[in-house]
Amino acid sequence: MEKFTTHTGLVVPLDIANVDTDQIIPKQFLQKTERVGFGVHLFHERRYLDHEGTQVNPDFVMNKPEYKGASVLLARENFGCGSSREHAPWAIEEYGFKVVIAPSFADIFYGNCINIGILPIRLTEAEVEQLFKLSAEAPLTVDVDLPNNTLTCGDLTFKFSLNEFQQYSLENGVDSVGWTLNKLDKIKDFEAKMPAWQ
């Protein structure tokens, strides 16, 4: 996993609450055995006017020319709810997003983001609202500093927090499986004490 320390990027405001992972990556694109090829289908039903994905929907925010090259997704509450499909953050990452900001995330989606190196930032509803307002005035660029847990936008600085180990894992690009395999003795000790029925 790539290390995440700081990032500066253009924000695309997606003003929809309860965005589920079916919307992020619809089921017809889950039939892959590889980890690539999802970015082009990100938000497929909103991004394209036709099922085949040949006609771009000019009204969808991500398709507007001023948001070309955006790498920070600004979203509303309960982002990433529904299916546990990790294909959703894979699609978000492959499209070019490094950071997702929302007032709240669904639990599985949040964990999936961290596991692949995307930074999900929880801000308060009021802070998110402020960013949406600023974004409506002119395209917004933000600076994210993970070691200092700050998101800066012009004169404004917002603090955010992550669980200690998740922060460490992102900053250091930890191979989580390898990390746990170093604890094999502890796992074996645990197994030795398990009841027979377990």
Binding site: Q23, L30, E77, S84, E86, I108, P195
Partner: protein, 471 residues
């Protein structure tokens, strides 16, 4: 007498699975059972191969084919090239890593969350994970069960553990007894309607109270299944005699003295009487009526005797806007009576409602209409949750009741719940569905889903609209 702090069932499950809680690290929990399927496992296997790592406990992992298989044929190629590639990859991966697979046509094949419980793979007091968000189903047994992403699937393969932050606890108590004809699906939809679609994000929920205790295991599974639909990490029901009787004698369940010892341990799982929950929600069962969703999240739900709400009914600006968007997508007018909404598709199936009791309930309603058939304007399909359910239903003649009435009787699978195979709705189709998600496009681009119980779905198939069966 004990002096220890009273614990919730979740805390007990947590403590008995805690491998390590090292400073600065997310706690490491032991995983007893890992269920896998074709869609969310291939990339995890690929990474194992890349790092030259084995599956640490292949005997704790069970694979099934469910998400994108055809419900018309047991042929692996029947649901298209993409599906076939994933199904063949699962065969190859299971063979290479020594995992037992219930593939196409196997007598144990079925939707993971139907198959696990019916085979006795699901046990109280265990941690069960699967790369599928409806894994919470198994919480009906007092197992801590939750959905995981593919990176976590890989972590479980390699280590038989997972790192988890401790969730908050929520108690949902349903007092008294539900009225006649009110199903477990109505109970859980009413709960979600009360909490909202993200009301339990960050929580593990324990369902309790007389109305929950009175439920059969299959009904408890329906309740726990939809825990994710209001954001909960997992749903739990305390194991009791109903649970032990269900588990006893099942193929993979412990036998003899080991089973007896297990029951002793399982009886201790129950939350202590004075355990403290972070949040408590109470519902009166007698107030719960048959439920139908009107919007595009499961929380947008109302009683069948109600009307489609208006954005003006909501004070929260986000809910107001969500209502507005949902009415446009669903092509519904505020104020329309729910019983006046006409459907053209009916789907009875999914890990929420495809078990034998669900099919019996639907068949009872079909019989109540005495010889009436599925109305011409409706296509109705019934998809049993597993081959065992299918076989049982056929031995009881339920398939005959359905096919005589004009329903299509299909082969087991996830089917139209997510429409990864060819069981998809077209644009503008309106479906009464016993599944768990009414998201935009979930069952097909531009399609409209109303979540209901099997009874309501059966009635909608015959009449072409929702029905207040208690009116």
């Amino acid at each position: 007498m004990t002096t220890s702090t009273p614990q919730t069932m979740y805390e007990k499950l947590w403590q008995t699975h805690l491998v390590e809680d090292a400073k600065g690290e997310t706690p490491l929990l032991y995983v007893d059972r890992h269920l896998i399927h074709e869609v969310t496992s291939p990339q995890a296997f690929a990474n194992l191969r890349f790092h030259n790592r084995p599956v640490r406990h292949p005997e704790r992992t069970i694979a099934t084919m469910d998400h994108n298989i055809s419900t018309r044929s047991i042929k692996i190629d029947a649901a298209g090239t993409g599906a076939a590639n994933q199904l063949r990859a699962l065969q190859k991966n299971c063979k290479e890593f020594g995992i037992e697979l219930f593939g196409m046509g196997h007598k144990n094949q079925g939707i993971a969350h139907v198959m696990g419980p019916e085979l006795g793979l699901t046990l109280p007091g265990t941690i069960i994970v699967c790369g599928d968000s409806h894994t919470a189903t198994h919480g009906a047994f007092g197992a801590l069960a939750f959905g995981i992403g593919t990176s976590e699937v890989e972590h479980v393969f390699a280590t038989q553990t997972l790192r988890q932050n401790k969730a908050k606890t929520m108690k949902i108590q349903v007092n008294g007894h539900v009225g006649a004809g009110i199903s477990a699906k109505d109970i859980i939809l009413a709960i979600i309607g009360k909490t909202g679609s993200a009301g339990a994000t960050g929580y593990v929920v324990e369902y309790c109270g007389e109305a929950i205790e009175a439920l059969s295991m299959e009904e408890r599974m329906t309740v726990c299944n939809m825990s994710i639909e209001f954001g909960a990490k997992a749903g739990l029901v305390a194991p009791d005699q109903t649970t032990f009787d269900y588990v006893k004698g099942r193929e993979y369940a412990p036998k003899g003295e080991v089973f007896e010892q297990a029951v002793v341990d399982w009886k201790n799982l129950r939350s202590d009487a004075d355990a403290v929950f972070d949040t408590v929600i109470t519902l009166e069962a007698k107030d719960i009526k048959a439920q139908v969703t009107w919007g595009t999240t499961p929380g947008q739900v109302i009683s069948v005797d109600g009307i489609v709400p208006s954005p003006e009914d909501f004070t929260d600006p986000v809910e107001k806007e969500s209502c507005k968007q949902a009415l446009v997508y669903m092509d519904l007018k505020a104020g329309t009576k729910m019983v006046d909404i006409e459907v053209n598709k009916v789907f009875i199936g999914s890990c929420t409602n495809s078990r034998i009791e669900d099919l019996r309930a639907a068949a009872t309603i079909v019989q109540r209409y005495e010889g009436q058939k599925v109305v011409d304007s409706v296509d109705a399909i019934i998809v049993p949750g597993s081959y065992r359910v299918k076989e049982q239903a056929e031995s009881e003649g339920l398939d005959k009741i359905f096919t005589d009435a004009g329903f299509e009787w299909r082969l087991p699978g996830c089917s139209m719940c997510l429409g990864m195979n060819d069981d998809v709705l077209g644009p503008g189709d309106r479906c009464a569905s016993t599944s768990n998600r009414n998201f935009e496009g979930r069952q097909g681009r531009g399609s409209r889903t109303h979540l209901v119980s099997p009874e309501m779905a059966a009635a909608a198939a015959i009449t072409g609209h929702f029905v207040d069966l208690n009116a």
